[in-house]
């Protein structure tokens, strides 16, 4: 058992392979000045692997290289990789690459007496010296076995060759055909090359091919030990060490709008956390695509970039359909904020989809991503789970918020969905609510990590104004939706009207009462005033009478002679 320590990992000098992903798995590349064995069955990409090592060495790392090909002629090789954008003739002309085709034809080789492979050494040595090569690829050395026969001479010469390569200090890649059961290589080349061994594999599952790579051994260095999928396409080889992302990503408190005010309101922080993953699950026709479109629309309106990965509909179709809910996604596409990527899920394997998605994301650098729907992916549950895990990890590291749409059957969550839950930060369930002979749509928040959220089942409607969440009506048997809700609304409206009428009536009555009371008060006041006036009048009459009487008495006295 080898104990890998950090110091050895650092001290070991490495030659970057230039193959996306591989250098991450190997923490820097292939061992400098030592041979590396690439073992794989036919069609795994061994030759391309070697060529990429050389081409990247020559173009990126300033390390010229020699390819000694035992199988393909230089002309064929040049033609084969020109589609990948590798311009071998130019590299050859610039003395950065030498391709030496070694013709091994059993029928042309007669043997008489002892021999060695010094000729090969001379050829290789001459080529290395000619351009100062730092990298050498031998593809596929095993052809020698078929040409020369598997004898002690060849074995001894191979041993000498690998030692010689080490002495020359070149970083060598030796490709070898995969052996039958239990054997890494057909002729046991791993016996001679023990510093670094990489196995390539090409498997077909459900008619979909996936290439995989594994670093079996790397003497003196730590390395990723998993089996990593890799891809050969127009961009060359890319390995996907996406699991290396782990859970060490930084997190954000920033809030991203869901694009639907009603949903934002249901979530405690007014939206999703930036960099979180959201699962929108629901049966057909619950508006998953609409929700996804609103989400990208909100981002685009805010001036951010978005990618919409569609596995069911073409971009044009989505753009057209979303106009019916008041979204003009075409405008965002035109001004370069929104990118649609549509592909049939059965077109590639899961890995291929993942690579293409990650490549798009790398290229476009969006803030938000929608994957619609993940249920379209084919493969075993664990594989889909692993693929999504890698995608989620990748997006989290980049701080990209992602909405996954998931088509489910009926109201029951199937097992698949449950296992998805662990990957998701927010899960919103869209449901068909069937009652009273109609079908209505309702949504609720199943979970929302790190925030308080509404526990209500809310009915929503899709219309020209987008997605509208309707105030919940809760009756005796749960939430009322559709016409039941409308009936309830009407009933409540009627009751309210009745109450309003009653209040009005009583107000009127009271007003009248008050009026009559006030009238009475006024009348009484009048009567009192009248009485008072009468009293006053009486008083005046009385006084006058007194005066008259007094005057009479005086007159009488005078008449009786009381004159002086």
């Amino acid at each position: 058992m080898t104990i890998h320590t950090k110091t050895t990992a650092e001290s070991l000098s490495k030659a970057p392979s230039g193959i996306a992903g591989l250098d991450e798995i190997t923490f820097g590349g292939l061992p400098t000045g030592r041979p590396t064995l690439i073992a794989g069955a036919a069609g795994c990409g061994k030759t391309l692997f070697g060529l990429t090592f050389l081409v990247k060495g020559a173009t990126v790392y300033d390390e010229p290289g020699v390819l000694m090909s035992f199988e393909e002629r230089a002309g064929d090789l040049i033609a084969n990789v020109s589609s990948l954008g590798y311009d071998l003739p130019r590299l050859i002309a610039e003395d950065k690459l030498i391709i030496d085709y070694v013709r091994v034809e059993r029928s042309e080789i007669e043997q008489s007496g002892e021999y060695d492979l010094e000729g090969l050494f001379v050829r290789l040595g001459y080529a290395i010296d000619k351009i100062g090569a730092k990298r050498v690829v031998l593809d596929t050395l095993e052809s020698l076995f078929s040409g020369l026969g598997d004898g002690p001479v060849l074995r001894a010469e191979l041993r000498r060759l690998f030692q010689w390569l080490k002495d020359r200090g070149v970083s060598a890649v030796i490709t070898a055909e995969r052996g039958s059961e239990g054997q890494l290589t057909r002729h046991g080349l791993e016996e001679y090359v023990s510093d670094c061994v990489i196995a390539l594999d090409n498997r077909v599952d459900e008619q979909i091919t996936t290439r995989r790579l594994r670093v079996l051994k790397y003497r003196g260095s730590a390395h990723g030990t998993n089996e990593y999928p890799f891809l050969i396409d127009a961009g060359g080889i890319s390995v996907l060490p996406v699991t290396s992302a782990g859970l060490s990503h930084s997190i954000s408190d920033e809030v991203v709008s869901s694009g639907i005010p009603g949903i934002d309101a249901m979530l405690g922080i007014g939206g999703y956390y930036k960099g979180s993953s959201i699962l929108l699950s629901g049966p057909s026709g619950t508006g998953k695509t609409t929700f996804g479109s609103r989400f990208v629309n909100a981002a685009c309106v805010a001036g951010q970039r978005a990618i919409y990965f569609s596995f069911e509909e073409s971009p044009e179709q989505i753009v057209r359909n979303m106009q019916s809910v008041g979204l003009d996604l075409g405008a965002h596409v035109k001004n370069g904020l929104l990118r649609f990527e549509s592909a049939r899920p059965s077109l590639f394997g899961l890995e291929m989809h993942l690579v293409l998605m990650i490549r798009q994301i790398d290229e476009f650098a969006p803030s938000v991503v929608v994957v619609d729907p993940i249920s379209a992916f084919r493969g075993s549950e664990s594989e889909i789970h692993a693929t999504l895990l890698r995608l989620v990890d990748y997006l989290k590291v980049k701080g990209i918020t992602v909405v996954f749409n998931n088509l489910v059957n009926g109201e029951q969550n199937d097992k698949n969905e449950q296992s998805l839950s662990s990957l998701m930060d927010v899960w919103i369930g869209l449901h068909d609510l069937e009652a009273n002979g109609e079908r209505n749509r309702g949504l609720f928040v199943l979970k929302a990590r790190g925030m308080s959220h509404s526990n209500q089942i809310r009915e929503y409607q899709l219309g020209p104004d987008g997605v509208t969440l309707i105030e919940p009506y809760i009756g005796q048997h749960g939430v009322l939706t559709g016409s039941a809700r409308i009936v309830q609304e009407a009933q409540e409206e009627a009751a309210a009207q009745e109450r309003r009428d009653e209040v009005n009536r009583r107000q009127r009555e009271f007003g009248e009462k008050r009026k009559s009371a006030e009238r009475q008060i006024a009348e009484t006041r009048e009567a009192l005033a009248r009485e008072e006036a009468e009293l006053l009048a009486l008083d005046t009459v009385d006084q006058r009478r007194e005066e008259i009487l007094a005057a009479g008495r005086f007159a009488a006295a005078t008449r009786r002679g009381a004159r002086t």
């Binding site: 080789i109 007669e110 043997q111 008489s112 010094e118 000729g119 040595g125």
Partner: protein, 118 residues
Amino acid sequence: MSPARKAMKVAAATAESLGNAAVGADGVYHFRLYVAGQTPKSMAAIENLTTLCDTHLPGRHRIEVLDLVLNPELAAQDQIMAIPTLVRSLPPPLKRMIGTLSDPERFLIGLDYSRPAT
């Protein structure tokens, strides 16, 4: 002078002496022997070839000894992998034989040599 070196000289001389023979002329065998330095195997091959030719093809052969140590570019050019390699360029077809030529039977069979009728 070692016997091997002498043999090399002889071989070169033989090639030289037969230089006038028309290329491809009937009955003349053209051989190119590729060696790499003066290793025992190389020396043995030169000696064996000279002997075989003198025995079976007297006056009907031309031998060229090519040392890859001196002319490394020839290795790739002439598709040499094993050392020593003997190439019979004439008469056609081109034939290759690797090894020290220590087995006369295989040498003769391998080169489709048919004894001249006596």
